[in-house]
């Protein structure tokens, strides 16, 4: 299958461009084939799956996955907190794993699959983790909540997959779910309102129901 979003810049073009510039060649070159002068955006086409739908976009190479979700696809459930990978508000699932969407470029996810909070559940059909957060009051202002929920879903999968954590006592034994495990694994999601204990309760309930 041909890849509709294949990047329009290949190395040869770029390298030819650099060499030509160094030699002060007068031949016209496409903007893409030259190193970008400061402030000149370099546009490129990217295509990936977001919440089950293939999306193809023309993007500035600088665009983070977070900004694509919010500003280009208007999926504003994913939040921008610190924009530096410290708060976890931008957590989404990419190819099944949770990452900080603020610290990755959209162009690095050509052909990838992104699940944001909008893809986990809907108001009429909540994901079990969303329902548990409501039941256990796992938020106050709600700003960090989409990231907490995406992270929470992934954490339970990581425990099931046997991935150890800093608080896992025995690296060679199966990982057991515990409050300590949840707290350690959720440390990349900051909640200024301090809803942590209720988040742990919500996650514990979902984990127990999953068995």
């Amino acid at each position: 299958m041909s890849d509709p979003g294949e990047l329009n810049v290949n190395r040869r073009e770029v390298m030819v461009g650099v060499g030509a510039c160094a030699a002060l060649a007068a031949a016209p070159l496409s903007v893409r084939a030259q190193p970008a002068p400061v402030g000149t955006p370099v546009m490129t086409q990217v295509s990936f799956n977001v919440n089950g739908q293939v999306r193809t976009l023309e993007l500035d190479t600088r665009t983070t996955l977070l900004d694509v979700l919010r500003e280009h696809l208007h999926l504003t459930g994913t939040k921008k907190g610190c924009d530096h990978g410290q708060c976890g508000a931008c957590t989404v699932l990419v190819d099944g794993r949770r990452i900080n969407s603020c610290l990755t470029l959209a162009v690095m996810h050509q052909g990838g699959a992104v699940t944001s909070i909008e893809g986990l559940g809907t108001p009429d059909d909540l994901h079990p983790m969303q329902a548990a957060f409501i039941k256990h009051d796992g938020y106050q202002c709600g700003y960090c909540t989409p990231g907490q929920i995406c992270s929470g879903v992934a954490v339970l999968d990581e425990i099931k997959a046997g991935i150890p954590s800093h608080v896992t006592a025995d690296l060679t034994a199966p990982v057991q779910l515990s409050e300590a495990e949840i707290r350690e694994r959720m440390s990349g999601n900051i909640c200024r309102c301090g809803a942590y204990s209720n988040i742990v309760e919500a996650m514990t309930e979902v984990a127990e129901r999953q068995g």
Binding site: L7, V9, N10, R11, V14, M15, V18, G19, R32, Q34, P35, A36, P37, V38, G39, T40, P41, V42, T44, D60, T61, R62, T64, D83, H84, G85, G88, T91, R97, R98, I99, N100, L103, T104, L105, V107, M108, Q110, S151, A154, V155, E158, A161, G162, I163, P164, S165, H166, T168, L171, T172, R183, E184, R185, M186, S187, G188, N189
Partner: protein, 316 residues
Amino acid sequence: MRAFTFERANTPAEAAAAVAHSPGAKFIAGGTNLLDLMKLQIETPTHLVDVNGLKLDTIEPSPEGGLRIGALVRNTDLAANERVRRDYGVLSRALLAGASGQLRNRATTAGNLLQRTRCPYFYDTAQPCNKRQPGSGCSALDGFSRQLGIIGVSDACIATNPSDMAVAMRALDATIETVRPDGATRTIPIAELHRLPGDTPHVETTLEPGELITAATLPPPIGGRQIYRKVRDRASYAFALVSVAAVIQRDGTGRVAVGGVAHKPWRVEAAEADLPHGPRAVTERLLAGAKPTHDNAFKVSLVERTLGAVISEARS
């Protein structure tokens, strides 16, 4: 963030050549450190070479009986690897003590080795910093230096290497495999990968321009009690004030490397002879010549006490 062109490399040698031949180019793998720095315009690459497609993401037995870890193996996957957990526990422990789950899912082995310091003055573009802007001065020397280096420091820089993983790899005597822009490969003992700051703190490693790390190889397992103890301001998701990676054998001999104290993972093999005699003797040799600041002098005794806790744990 400054504008940049972008390409995906298909082979390691092609990636190395692409970076070497394009002034201002950088590799990008996980991107968790580079993009952070690009947003602050501390890093301003004009061209990014995406190495994620290079298929350097496997962990395989080495011919010598050790383990060869591809440069693109994510921190989560390295920490969770069964052989690493069984035979190189200190490495699993170090990885799991670092960053957050989200970051570990993205950060790579080579990227972890090459991550930049978290010295607050390196990050503050309004302040002089010899690492960020060579020749501008070091704000940390008379500034807030609680987190910073105590040994191997210079008048130009007291930054620390922030990696936990590298400290464990130093204790395990890992070797780093690279490919150069001309396609030639070489191996570098991890002890020789990172440099001390000297008067060129902006030059952090012995890698050449465009040289790409392709793997880290661990020697055959050496057994022992493998412990990584990290002391930090929070229980999770914080950089080390001091960390100790140790492999302690039944007879009390062993190896120890320390993080959070220097521009590179700090290990003094000669000091390890004193391990059976307790933490004070080891620390005296390990930190001989230390030049702490007023703010971080506590790290000298913190190293000794952390090492003491590690030795006790190994005996238990």
